[in-house]
Structure formats: structure tokens, C-alpha cells
């Protein structure tokens, strides 16, 4: 009989679920060692349970998957397709991509999304900043500088996703934000004292008055490590290049901190999310004050730091410029774009006024006599 040349496996090297195959990975969540098959099963089932227990979808829903071509959204598209077929969710899944207009980055990642469209047999809609705002990210950066690139991009993307979804007649966008991202955001909001955002940052489904489109994160409890492993073992086609513009420095630092913590205590990501979910903020203090003008008694909200909020809410909840839903008179995207337009015009105005100013000054000087 031919000798078996296979390496002997120790029992401790076996999968802790099926006890039959060799374990290939250790789950950061509970340190369980699993084989590929059991890992796929556990990974997909956990996401299914998250979807079901949070009632994320109803049969017949049309869902847009915010797809960047990166690992998270690629795995999200793949897993949602699998689960939709396995558990008969009855969902119509569509890929929705944003083209920010970053040459050498987004054009390459969109090529990945186009391949995903064929691989997963889903319709694809691409919405571009250039079409929506008449500004591409490359133009914005050349005008406003590289340091604020993430601020612009973030605000514009949020609205672009909403508008893309509306164009498709869809009122629910799912994104690939994972547990690491959520923990990172909780940490960042704590470090910045951003209490308003802290409360909403752990919500799996955001459904605000500000937006006609719901957002949800089915990967809220899914570790980044497992997403990367899933993509690797399933040989999913994803794009992985960092954006050419500087990443948000503060988020980067929070991420480093979190990764360092995770290497010592892998469960800390879940623990931070848990803490975030269970924080309840003290209600804001209200104080009676007398109005300066007509000596009327009014109630004013006072924040913990002593600052007050002035009641300047407009009657309508639509942006005066673009007609988009907004809690302010002018929506954030319009405010940013307005600033950019001013900047664009200023360049020529500045030089003109300098010439005008100089000529006027010399004329005035000529007219002077002692």
C-alpha cells in the first residue's frame, strides 16, 4: 500500500465546529478556530440573523447596495445575493456607485464594480459628482486644497447616494460599513466630544427626516478581518488601492489606536459597539430666561458646556438652492459648493481689484498737492 504522505494533524488543529477538517482561521470575536466551510456558514448566518432580528428588509423591497468596488461592498453584494436566494428574502438588489471623479483611483475601482455587475448579475447605476454638482473631486482638490478633501467628499457622497437611489426609485441604501468602522466612529466621536453623532453612530438603520432614503449597515457586527478572509477564500474580485488624496488624519489615528487595541484584545471592537449602543445621554438642561427685546419669558436649551442653541429653524425643510431635503435653509452640500464657486471667482476678481486699487491710489496721489 502506498504510504500516505499527508502531514499528521493534531486534534487541536481541527475545526472546533465540525471536528473533521483542518481549521484555517481564528475568529476575532470569540477566538474559535474554524475550517473554511464552517467559517462561510457562520459568517453568512450571523449576517442573516442580524438582518432578521433588526427587520432590515421586507419582501419585495428594492435595495441599492452602495458599491465602491472595495472589499466591504464587494463582500456585501456577494453575501446579500447568497442570502436573498437561500432564505427567499424577495429583494431586488441593485448596485449603486458614486463616481467622485478621482483619476487613477475611482476610475479603476469602477472597473471592478462593472465586473461585479456581471459576476452577480445585478443592475448597476453610476452617479457622478461632475453631473450632480458640476465639480469633480479632482477639481475640488485643486481649488480647495488636499486637506479638506474628505470633508467635501463625505458631504457630497451622502447626497449623491440619496439622489442616485431616488433616481432608481429606491428608498433604502445598504452600505458595507463593518464592525471596525462602527467602533472607529464611536471612538472618534468620544474623542471629539461629538455627543449628537455618538448617539446615532451605532444605529444599524438610520431613517431621518433629513433624508428620504433609509441607510443600513448589515455588516455592523462583522469584523473587517473576517470580511477580508471571506473575500480571499471565496476569491472575490475586489479593488484595494488607497484614495490618492490624504485620508482624514483624525480618523486614521483612531483606526491605528483601534487596531493596536484589537491585537491585544480582539473582542474590544464588539465591546466598543456595545458600549456605544448602551450609552444614554443626559437630557439637555432647560433654563427660563427673559428675552432682551420684549421681556417675554422664554425657555432656552443650554448645553453641558454652557453654550445655547438659537431657534433659527426655517419653516420649510428644503434647501432653498437645490430643493433637496435639509434641516437648514441651505443644505450642507450647497454651502460647500457655494464656497467653492466663490473661490473660483475670487481668483480673477482679486487680481482685477488689485489693479483697480493700485490705479485709483496713484490717481488720488497725483491729485494731491501741498
Amino acid at each position: 500500500m502506498p504510504e500516505i504522505i499527508q502531514k499528521k494533524l493534531k486534534v487541536s488543529a481541527l475545526c472546533e465546529l465540525c471536528h473533521a477538517r483542518k481549521a484555517v482561521m481564528k475568529r476575532p470575536k470569540n477566538l474559535m478556530k474554524l475550517c473554511k466551510e464552517c467559517f462561510y456558514n457562520v459568517f453568512e448566518t450571523e449576517i442573516h440573523n442580524t438582518i432578521v432580528s433588526n427587520n432590515l428588509f421586507s419582501p419585495g423591497d428594492k435595495i441599492a447596495i452602495g458599491a465602491s468596488g472595495g472589499k466591504d461592498s464587494t463582500v456585501l453584494a456577494s453575501v446579500l445575493k447568497t442570502l436573498n436566494e437561500r432564505y427567499n428574502y424577495g429583494l431586488h438588489l441593485v448596485l449603486l456607485s458614486i463616481d467622485e471623479g478621482i483619476v487613477g483611483y475611482r476610475d479603476d475601482s469602477l472597473a471592478t464594480v462593472k465586473r461585479n455587475q456581471k459576476q452577480y448579475n445585478m443592475p448597476l447605476e453610476i452617479v457622478s459628482y461632475k453631473d450632480l454638482y458640476n465639480w469633480s473631486m479632482d477639481e475640488i482638490v485643486s481649488c480647495a486644497g488636499i486637506r479638506s478633501s474628505c470633508t467635501y467628499c463625505g458631504v457630497l457622497r451622502r447626497q449623491a447616494l440619496d439622489r442616485g437611489a431616488e433616481k432608481l426609485g429606491i428608498n433604502h441604501v445598504v452600505t458595507g460599513h463593518n464592525a471596525d468602522d462602527v467602533a472607529e466612529t464611536v471612538l472618534m466621536n468620544i474623542l471629539r466630544g461629538d455627543i449628537n453623532r455618538l448617539e446615532s453612530s451605532t444605529r444599524i438603520l438610520t431613517d431621518s427626516d433629513n433624508s428620504p432614503v433609509k441607510r443600513s449597515k448589515p455588516f455592523k457586527y462583522t469584523y473587517q478581518k473576517e470580511i477580508v478572509l471571506y473575500a480571499h477564500y471565496k476569491k472575490l474580485d475586489y479593488f484595494s488601492t488607497e484614495c490618492t488624496y490624504a485620508p482624514e488624519a483624525f480618523r486614521g489615528t483612531a483606526r491605528e489606536l483601534l487596531k493596536g487595541l484589537e491585537s491585544i484584545r480582539p473582542s474590544c471592537i464588539m465591546d466598543i459597539i456595545y458600549s456605544g449602543e448602551h450609552l444614554s445621554l443626559a437630557p439637555k438642561k432647560k433654563k427660563q430666561t427673559v428675552a432682551y427685546k420684549n421681556k417675554k419669558r422664554i425657555e432656552q436649551e443650554i448645553n453641558q458646556d454652557g453654550s445655547v442653541k438659537l431657534d433659527t429653524k426655517p419653516k420649510t425643510n428644503k434647501c432653498e438652492k437645490c430643493g433637496y431635503l435639509s434641516s437648514n435653509k441651505i443644505c450642507k452640500a450647497c454651502v460647500l459648493l457655494q464656497g467653492l464657486e466663490l473661490n473660483r471667482a475670487k481668483v480673477s476678481l482679486d487680481s482685477n481689484s488689485a489693479i483697480d486699487g493700485a490705479a485709483k491710489l496713484s490717481k488720488t496721489l497725483e491729485g494731491l498737492s501741498f
Binding site: G70, S73, N178, L229, S240, G260
Partner: protein
């Protein structure tokens, strides 16, 4: 003696190795003696093209948190991490998990 192995840089990590994702290399180690620790050291000297990129790969003398390490497609945490003894034909995969999704 030397050991033939394959080293892969995935998930965008190929930026530290001249955009080459797959390296088939022969490392000047004695089989049965060299560990993962020796290999990591060898990589920083022989594969990373720009010394400035070493901190992208190494932190506190080991692979930086956020880089997933697989030895023959198995999580290195199950293979003894730095103490793993390198064998002929091994495949080492380093994948960055930090890039946007």
C-alpha cells in the same frame, strides 16, 4: 542550503514592493531552523524597496496590526505566528485590511 517559498502582498500592500504582488524567492535559510521571525526580517531587507515603507509593514518588531498574515492559506495565529518553522514550498500571504471598502 536554501528554501524555496512564495510571498504575496495583497489588499494594496504591494505598494511596499514595487507593485509586485507575487514573489517567488529562495531564502538563504536552513530548513527546520528558520522561523517566521527570520523571514519577516529577511523581507524588510530584501523585498521592501524603500526603507521608508518598513513601518507600513512592521510595528514593534512584528507585522503591523491590520495586516492579515496567512501561511499556506491558514491564519498565522493558528500556526504559532512568529515561531512558525518555515518549510520548503510554503506560501506566505500578507493582506492589508485597512483600505477603504
Amino acid at each position: 542550503m536554501a528554501i524555496k517559498i512564495k510571498i504575496e502582498f495583497l489588499g494594496g500592500l504591494d505598494i511596499i514592493s514595487n507593485s509586485i504582488r507575487e514573489h517567488k524567492v529562495t531564502v538563504p535559510f536552513e530548513e527546520g531552523e528558520a522561523t517566521m521571525k527570520d523571514l519577516i526580517n529577511w523581507i524588510t531587507k530584501n523585498i521592501i524597496s524603500d526603507p521608508k515603507d518598513i513601518p507600513v509593514f512592521i510595528e514593534n518588531e512584528t507585522v503591523r496590526p491590520g495586516i492579515l498574515v496567512l501561511i499556506n492559506d491558514t491564519d498565522w495565529e493558528l500556526e504559532g505566528m512568529e515561531d512558525y518553522v518555515i518549510e520548503q514550498g510554503d506560501v506566505f500571504t500578507f493582506t492589508s485590511t485597512l483600505h477603504g471598502g
